[in-house]
Amino acid sequence: MDLSKLAQLTHLEASFSSIAAAFIGEVRRQLFVPEHADDDVEDEFVALRQRVDAYYPEFCAIFASSLLDQLGPERLQELLDQMNTEAAQRYLEVAEKIQLELQQSAPSLTHKLTAAAQSALAHPGWSPAPTSGQRSALSLARVAGVGRTLYDLAQAVTRQVLLEHRGNAAEPQLLTSPDAQRIQGLLVGMLAGFHARLFIRHVGEPHVASVVAELDRKPLRDYVSARVSAKPAVDRALEKLFERMTRELL
């Protein structure tokens, strides 16, 4: 496996850069460093970023290992060879940014989703049929590998709103009742719309159709699917890496 080729084709440097920036941001927050600190403190953070960047090879190794576990060396090599198309590269270049922005928006989204869920709960019969735009957004979320993330967030908000309304966490049908399903469907639709807008902004409107088409066929579809399957293992390995970075760098 050519690690540098994997890193280049899957734009791992951009992913690592986002993660490194998030790590530094968290350190600044925990150490009460203001946005514009004294020069000597800013110098320390420039040096810290350089030391964080030294972990890039380990990051690539984690990523490669998880993909190898999912696909095996031959299939991964084959996919990489086929992913050097303009549309695939355009998507892979922005995929991490979309994912990150989605995560960062979760608190404000939760607020909006809660209001929507409460409103839906107050109007039991309200169940509008999805528009074609919503159906496309849902389809896009699925092929982009974020369907599960959106569903989990919608479910968490639905559960919270129902608990506040009914107050019984042990109720077995809490999330399987028609009401819960209706609310959850509405919220997933909202989230898919949000994701689609992010996607369009990052990919660029003129390229959306070609990128979506690429996502819907091999090899990109298989690659995205493998990344989704590998995510839990990657997250666990990254958590350990961050713990070590914290211990070694701070």
Binding site: L31, A37, D38, D40, V41, L250
Partner: protein, 419 residues
């Protein structure tokens, strides 16, 4: 009946380890002809009486030093306020000058001293609670030498100390009591401590070098190491004669998992083929400990450590000081409060190891023990500090001198009878 000679009130709350230095200071002051009264937790009355001190229990006995801040506040600190208020009111009726020696900003004596114009002399049993940007406690000492030194010094530590000074559990509970006393509310610990007129550290300068930003005036007395009147049981001396100097293990007050502590101790002794002495009231020795391990509920550390190869303990400052005094290397298995800071200091001084958090394993205990009992460098360092303590002696007489100097310079202190 009134007297112009000041009455010295010694006030502190905590476990016995927190109260013993106050008791020893009280005994010394009584021997010098002063009238002393101790306000403390239940359970030390017999000792206070034996030392010639008056005693008023202000809160229940504290046998568990692993309680969290809220429990400590609710079960020990806040309950001490009413009895302390009652005691001070009775004192005011006697119209006798007072001076208070206390050991914490949380002591109920502080607002009462503020109300009645009584000066407070503050004792610091360990250096970790001195909020210094120049010499912060563990783990921040190391951070000031690290790659984010300026960040810690300029932003993190000031923010941390400001948060600690706001004492968000304690101050909201204190202010209603202050209002009852006719005192304005406070927002921070330093406001409570405006009543403190002199401070004394019960540790030597080689243990914690005074920092330029410590509150002033500040003196150091050295470790309080009053001589014991106890003796060692023959079972112990015969054991040492037969087996050689043992490793002494004592988990200190209230460590909840003493069974695990001593099982690891047993494995350590077995791995290194060393005799062991286990000290704890909370340990029920299981069968099969073998002839090379002896358990006692209590033995005087000053005496035991004269015959020890090594001391393994939780890192309370009193136990730490006794190991220095005896010239015995030590392993500190730190949990909380001043323990990690003491452990770090012991390690930096080259006389022991600190095992903390995930580093505190049986394997680490065995490895550290092996190193400490065989290292010539460690032996040289423990001897160096043993000699330093032998040369300077017990800190208690110096602390008594400090109180007397304060009385001579600042006194007498006629109470101000506020409404």
């Amino acid at each position: 009946m009134s007297s112009t000679k000041p009455r010295i009130i010694l006030a502190g709350i905590g476990t016995k380890g927190d109260l013993f230095p106050l008791l020893a200071l009280g005994r010394e002051l009584v021997q010098r002809g002063h009238e002393c009264h101790l306000l403390g937790n239940e359970g030390v009355e017999p000792l206070a009486a034996r030392h010639g001190l008056g005693f008023t229990p202000v809160t229940v006995e504290q046998t568990d030093n692993t309680v969290n801040s809220r429990e400590n506040l609710e079960h020990h600190i806040l309950p001490s306020y009413r009895p302390t208020i009652d005691h001070f009111r009775a004192q005011m009726a006697r119209a006798q000058p007072l001076v208070v020696v206390n050991s914490s900003a949380f002591c109920a004596s502080n607002p009462l001293c503020e109300k009645y114009g009584v000066p407070v002399c503050r004792i610091h049993l360990a250096p970790n609670n001195l909020r210094s940007l120049k010499a912060p406690p563990w783990p921040y000492r190391e951070k000031l030498q690290g790659p984010l030194a300026a960040t810690y010094r300029k932003y993190f530590l000031p923010a941390l100390f400001a948060t600690l000074n706001r004492a968000q559990l304690f101050i909201p509970a204190l202010n209603p009591l202050r209002a009852e006393l006719g005192l304005d509310p406070v927002d921070t610990i330093p406001e409570i401590d405006r009543v403190v007129r002199a401070r004394l550290g019960f540790f030597p300068s080689w243990y914690a070098e005074p920092a330029a930003d410590w509150p002033q005036p500040f003196e150091l007395a050295g470790f309080p190491l009053p001589a014991t009147i106890a003796t060692l049981p023959s079972e112990f001396t015969e054991f040492v004669a037969r087996e050689g100097n043992p490793i002494v293990f004592t988990p200190g007050t209230g460590v909840p998992d003493v069974a695990i502590f001593f099982e690891q101790a047993r494995q350590c002794c077995e791995a290194l083929d060393m005799p062991g002495v286990f000290l704890s009231r909370h340990f029920r020795a299981p069968k099969g400990l073998g002839s090379r391990i002896l358990h006692f509920e209590f033995l005087d550390l000053e005496l035991v450590l004269k015959h020890a190869a090594l001391l393994v303990h939780h890192g309370g400052i009193g136990t730490t000081a006794r190991a220095f005094q005896a010239g015995v290397p030590q392993i500190i298995r730190a949990r909380m409060y001043d323990q990690p800071d003491n452990g770090d200091r012991v390690q930096r001084l080259g006389v022991g190891r600190c095992l903390y958090g995930e580093d505190d394993t049986t394997e680490a205990l065995i490895a550290a023990t092996k190193h400490l009992i065989t290292s010539a460098e460690v032996q040289s360092q423990v001897e160096r500090f043993r000699a330093a303590i032998a040369g300077s002696g017990d800190g208690i007489p110096r602390a008594a001198d400090w109180v007397e100097r304060f009385l001579a310079k600042e006194g007498p202190f006629p109470p101000r009878f506020a409404s």
